[in-house]
Symmetry: C2
Amino acid sequence: MSHESPNLAAALQKTGLFSNLTPSELQLLAARTVRKLFSSGELLFSEGEPCTGLHIVSRGKVRIFKTSMSGREQVLAVEGPGSSVAELPVFDGGPYPASVVALEDSEIAFISRRDFHAYCMEHPDVALKVLAVVGARLRRLVGIIEELSFTTIRQRLVATLVKLAQAEGKQTPRGLEFRLPDSHQEIANQLGTVRELISRNLMRLQAEGLIEVDARHIVVKDMRGLNALLEASS
Amino acid sequence: MSHESPNLAAALQKTGLFSNLTPSELQLLAARTVRKLFSSGELLFSEGEPCTGLHIVSRGKVRIFKTSMSGREQVLAVEGPGSSVAELPVFDGGPYPASVVALEDSEIAFISRRDFHAYCMEHPDVALKVLAVVGARLRRLVGIIEELSFTTIRQRLVATLVKLAQAEGKQTPRGLEFRLPDSHQEIANQLGTVRELISRNLMRLQAEGLIEVDARHIVVKDMRGLNALLEASS
DNA sequence: GTAGCAGCGCGACTTTAGTCACTGCCCGTA
DNA sequence: TACGGGCAGTGACTAAAGTCGCGCTGCTAC
């Protein structure tokens, strides 16, 4: 661990769930949390297990995903510091609907179901904040459904390329350059497909002159052309 | 309209959101709601519109769905009396993520964003109830994602047949009989595909001896066989 | 160094999904 | 009765997705 773990109260505040609580209230809540450490690749919990409480990522990165019987994965979300995970089963009492794994060494603030429940009763505005967070999650899920049911893998791939290019691309004489942050396998998981299709589609985009691929290094030659692929019949 | 509209307070209570409020509190809330009538086929609102408030179905049936640019539909949920619709954008303030249409002549209790917001601040337990409802919705969405990304249309169709057979099937000498409640087109929308595939898959199941099809009349000949199709690599 | 392993490229193939165009049926109504 | 509309069945086809198998590279651990 490279640096000392941040103050828990501060981490809680970052979530947005608790941003308008007084420092003393935050301390009170922080007192009820347990800090848990997970190393990269470790499971926080698995789909189907009974829900024990709310998890908040204070450091690191986690992936929420579903696994099929044949071993395929579908990523529902990747959450970084300040995000909460499993807000919902805390309230409806059911089992976790998906599994969560740490993608990096991560630190998680954990609040038990009971405690958080009680806390929400005392602080109605916190409950509303939680609703807003859950709302955002719902929106993302609807977005995934839309993609799965209306778009091709090619389009989904182009969409993620465009997003990455805009987020971390660097303008060079050759075009907008960037590196893929994940392996083909991981991208496939996120798009709900298999590795080969990522590879093939990248090659195909290259053959069409829209991008250039060298392992994980990507050069966008024709951003306009990429966007055109997204417009058509999404 | 065949019968008089039910008492609003009673309708609210049915939602489960308000089940532990006192009658006088219910009356207070009911006073803040507006009754709206929609005839079959009418849109309650469309995807992308700014959210104005919470809708509660007190009579009738509504469908929540997404539409693609090419005209395909993906049904997210069908809600009957007592269910709320669009709980989430009420809190995160964003636009509606999907469209909602009345499938029958329906009566909707409408509560404005402001009023409901204020109400939740006064009654934290209501907010928690809403969270539970949203939780259930989230679960269903995750279920849809799982289906879309891991199963074939054939399997999804078999799953709905099994569900329908168990719900409303009648045991006869020939097998478990029931009628499809919707047109092939509607089933296709719910499974996220096109009419032809429903027709073809039904015929294929018939050819395999698992069911018998006569228009909308279905006889399940081999329930065990149908379930076997679901087990395999879901 | 080299053995092992993860990641990637790719060809050949099968299966599933989707499209288009048309036919026929039932039913209500002009 | 004739006409039209909604719904269902179907053949022929294309496109997309997924599977299998293999070979290559580059890295790391021993």
